[in-house]
């Protein structure tokens, strides 16, 4: 049996009342072997120069122990100056019950890099920890698409860190459609002027599945922009925690940050926790967040009812539609099909 580390992950940048259980999440995770990372387009990973030596990530420092070099599969990709590049990574737990991987992606000045990360289901229960570090240099754009399709009893720790230089952008899309628990940490620093983050998260959770998110964006540069949108559905006794923090650091004048969350609750035993935080130490900024949590409204139910669908059918249709809206944005037909197949499998239970 592997020795397990007890650690606090996904720590809220500023604590609040302990009884809410939102300040952090405690997990036990073993240090394992390198995971499998298969790149479809490239035979070998790239050398990257000038990558920041240290980078904050959403899951936090305590997870560093999981990514020690001897137990971690390392992989890197870089788009050279002005280049447009795309890579698809299939990431699996491998033969070991516990495994880790670390991916570094850099976009040089004026480059555009798209990275698809598909977290595959494994044959057996286990733990997979993957850290992705991103560096978007001046005038560059990184698009990171993460599809999380882990199976039952298969935990995933997805830890992302990103630094955006002047006019650098990160577009992040995450789709969670598996059956295993997911711990998801994202930390983005908009370090220079006009840098931006656009993050979209879609999920459908069922049974006693857990999804634990800690998304932070720190605005350092002037005229920086962040948009965060998280939409999902909780069924059965699924549990979700969403921590979303927009931090306007002093000096980030004329920046804008907006965060929205919509959660459809369909199970009798669901647990939905949300904490959308804004820190503001700068006068000339605009920050906003909004959340809508609950069942389908009467208007929507009436609409479906007028078309012969009962409440359950309407709810399942909406749950499917919410996720499919995200799936359509993946931008890779093969992956989209794969996710749709997985979604159908997940929803097929009880003829959903």
């Amino acid at each position: 049996m592997e020795e397990q580390n007890s650690m606090k992950i996904n720590q809220l940048p500023s604590k609040t009342w302990y009884w809410l259980g939102l300040n952090d999440t405690k997990v036990k995770w073993a240090a394992g072997a390198p995971c499998e990372i298969c790149a479809e387009e490239l035979s070998a990973d790239d050398e990257i120069t000038g990558f920041p030596e240290a980078m904050n990530t959403g899951a936090g420092k305590e997870t560093d122990v999981l990514f020690a070099p001897e137990q971690t599969k390392n992989w890197s990709v870089s788009a050279k100056e002005g280049q447009t590049k795309q890579v698809t990574l299939s990431i699996g737990q491998g033969k070991e019950k516990v495994s880790s991987g670390k991916i570094r992606a850099a976009a040089e000045e004026g480059a555009s890099l798209t990275v698809f990360e598909v977290f595959e289901p494994a044959q057996a229960a286990g733990q997979l920890a993957v850290r992705t570090e991103l560096y978007a240099k001046k005038d560059s754009r990184i698009r990171l698409v993460q599809v999380m399709m882990r199976g039952e009893g298969q935990e995933l720790l997805n830890d992302v860190g990103c630094i955006c230089e002047k006019n650098g952008a990160l577009d992040l899309l995450q789709v969670v459609v598996g059956k295993g628990d997911v711990y998801d940490g994202i930390w983005t620093e908009l370090q220079k002027d006009h840098a931006s983050l656009q993050a979209e998260i879609g999920y459908l959770l069922q049974n006693q599945q857990k999804f634990d998110v800690n998304l932070n964006v720190r605005h350092f540069g002037k005229v920086t922009e962040s948009t965060i949108q998280a939409d999902g559905t909780l069924m059965d006794a699924a549990e979700k925690i969403f921590r979303g923090t927009i931090d306007f650091v002093r000096g980030s004048a004329d920046s804008v940050g907006a965060e929205t969350e919509q959660v459809l609750l369909l199970g009798d035993d669901v647990v939905n926790k949300t904490i959308p935080v804004i820190f503001c130490a700068e006068e000339n900024v605009q920050g906003s967040h909004g959340a809508a949590i609950g069942e389908l409204d009467e208007e929507t139910l009436f609409y479906f009812g007028a078309r012969g669908m009962d409440r359950t059918q309407a709810e399942n249709t909406m749950a499917r539609a919410k996720l499919e809206a995200k799936i359509q944005k993946i931008g890779d037909a093969d992956i989209e099909q794969k996710v749709k197949t997985q979604l159908a499998e997940v929803l097929d239970r009880d003829n959903r």
Partner: protein, 468 residues
């Protein structure tokens, strides 16, 4: 670059005046079992209360200082005097109150307000009430409005014992435990079934002694189908040493009853305001909180409502104004634990001159809270780039039959709006004050006229010297 001008802060003498210390008795600074025992002896507590105090002290000593809010490092309990008895007994006529104390309340406008628009007034000076009175016609309706000590020993002793610190238990947090150990003063209100008190009752708390703490306990029971508006006001002169306010408010709202609890808090800026307020609402009942937080050096203040009965409701309207040297952590908590309950929260916060304002909230819905509705709206205004404004709202929803909405915005005063008002003849300072008053309008329109005027005066005071 915007041109900056500077205007001196104006004199806060309306609130910031001091009386000579002529207290009749005070305990030594610090917190020991002996001091707690002395307070209990001084107040001639019944045996159960004496044990309660000592047990609370044990809990206090075992409970850590909160590490999630503003720093309270400047507060040293060894320096705080927890009980200061003024040099008078409680009176029912202002003319019987010693001149210096009476003058204090005259300057604060309390007797005038009583004559004009209140059904009863309690005035606390340091640790004890010095004046308490209720209009005869209100008393004739069976309404009980008295000081806590009288209630503890009189015909309502059993009712007090049944409710005292049952909503806010000493185990809740360190300063609830402190309150349980050293509480003194405060008001007891009982409104019988079906009685509607047409005009408000008010308690005013004045802390005069430097380095002292005020720990008043307010216990209000509004019985079935009854209705009450209760107003709480507080202020203190500024000293160079820390003062502490760790009061406790427990509100019991009966079936189909309504209670409005309004507060204009204007403690001096050396005050640590670690106050706890909580309401429990039965079936069909409603609690309405109206809260203005202007004073204090540090505040931890989050009125909590437990919607216990089917169809119970809560409304919270609040404003926080954090100026120079202030770190005000305020907000609201609500627990929906029954079907068909609803809550509506509307808060505004303003930060200027390096002030820090944090809005912290929680909305919880248990599995039993079917068909729950909640809407939260918080807006924050930053008036300069040396201040800070944070929002930390949490939601914990455990029923699918819920409709929970939340929205928050942080921003600054628009230059266009200031320009528009200045083009119509206002100075920049007046234009900005006017915009801020408009921003606070949601709160002021919920207050009786006199208090809305006071709140707007406070905003105007705070806005002096704000240009830049």
């Amino acid at each position: 670059m915007r041109e900056k001008s500077y205007v001196e802060d104006i004199d806060r003498s309306i609130y910031d005046f001091k009386d000579d210390e002529k207290d009749a008795y005070k305990v030594k600074a610090g917190l020991t079992p002996e001091i707690v025992q002395k307070i209990s002896d001084e107040k001639k507590d019944p045996a159960w209360m004496q044990l309660f105090r000592l047990h609370s002290l044990q809990i206090y000593n075992q409970t850590p200082i909160p590490d999630w809010g503003p720093s309270i490092e400047g507060l040293n309990m060894d320096d705080i005097v927890t009980y200061v008895r003024p040099n008078t007994k409680m009176k029912a006529k202002w003319s019987d109150v010693p001149d210096d104390i009476k003058n204090t309340f005259e300057r604060l406008g309390i007797p005038q307000a009583e004559r004009k628009s209140l059904a009863g007034v309690g005035a606390q000076y340091d640790s004890e009430l010095v004046y308490h009175n209720v209009r005869a016609e209100v008393a004739a309706q069976g309404v009980v409005y008295t000081d806590m000590e009288s209630a503890l020993h009189g015909e309502y002793a059993d009712m007090v014992r049944k409710h005292f610190m049952k909503l806010v238990k000493p185990t809740d947090h360190k300063f609830a435990a402190l309150h349980g150990a050293v509480w003194s003063g405060g008001s007891f209100v009982y409104v019988p079934k079906g009685v509607s008190v047409e005009i408000p009752l008010q308690s005013y708390f004045r802390l005069n002694a430097p380095g002292a703490g005020q720990f008043e306990h307010t216990l209000i029971i509004v019985d079935e189908d009854a209705d009450l508006h209760f107003i709480e006001g507080c202020s203190a002169p500024k000293y160079n040493v820390a003062n502490l306010h760790a009061g406790c408010v427990e509100l019991f709202v009966g079936k189909n009853a309504r209670l409005r609890y309004s507060t204009i808090e204007n403690w001096s800026k050396n005050m640590y305001n670690l106050n706890t307020k909580r309401a429990q609402v039965e079936e069909g009942g409603k609690i309405e909180w109206v809260s203005g937080s202007f004073g204090s050096h540090v505040s931890y203040l989050y009125p909590m409502s437990v919607l216990k009965g089917r169809g119970a409701k809560m409304e919270f309207t609040g404003i926080t104004f954090a100026g120079k040297g202030q770190n005000l952590d305020t907000g609201v908590k609500v627990v929906h634990s029954a079907p068909d309950t609803s809550s509506y929260i509307n808060t505004k916060s303003i930060s200027k001159d390096g002030g820090i304002s944090t809005f912290r909230s929680s909305v919880s819905a248990t599995k039993a809270a079917k068909n729950t509705k909640s809407a939260v709206s918080c807006q924050s205004l930053m008036l300069d780039d040396i201040s800070r404004s944070d929002t930390i709202p949490a939601m914990d929803i455990r029923t699918k039959d819920a409709n929970i909405g939340h929205e928050a915005q942080i921003g600054s005063i628009s230059d266009e709006a200031v320009f528009y008002l200045m083009s119509r003849g206002m100075t920049e300072e007046d234009a900005r004050a006017c915009i801020v008053s408009g921003f606070a309008d949601d709160v002021s329109k919920e207050l009786p006229l006199e208090y809305a005027v006071e709140m707007n005066n406070l905003i105007r005071l705070e806005m002096k010297g704000s240009i830049g």
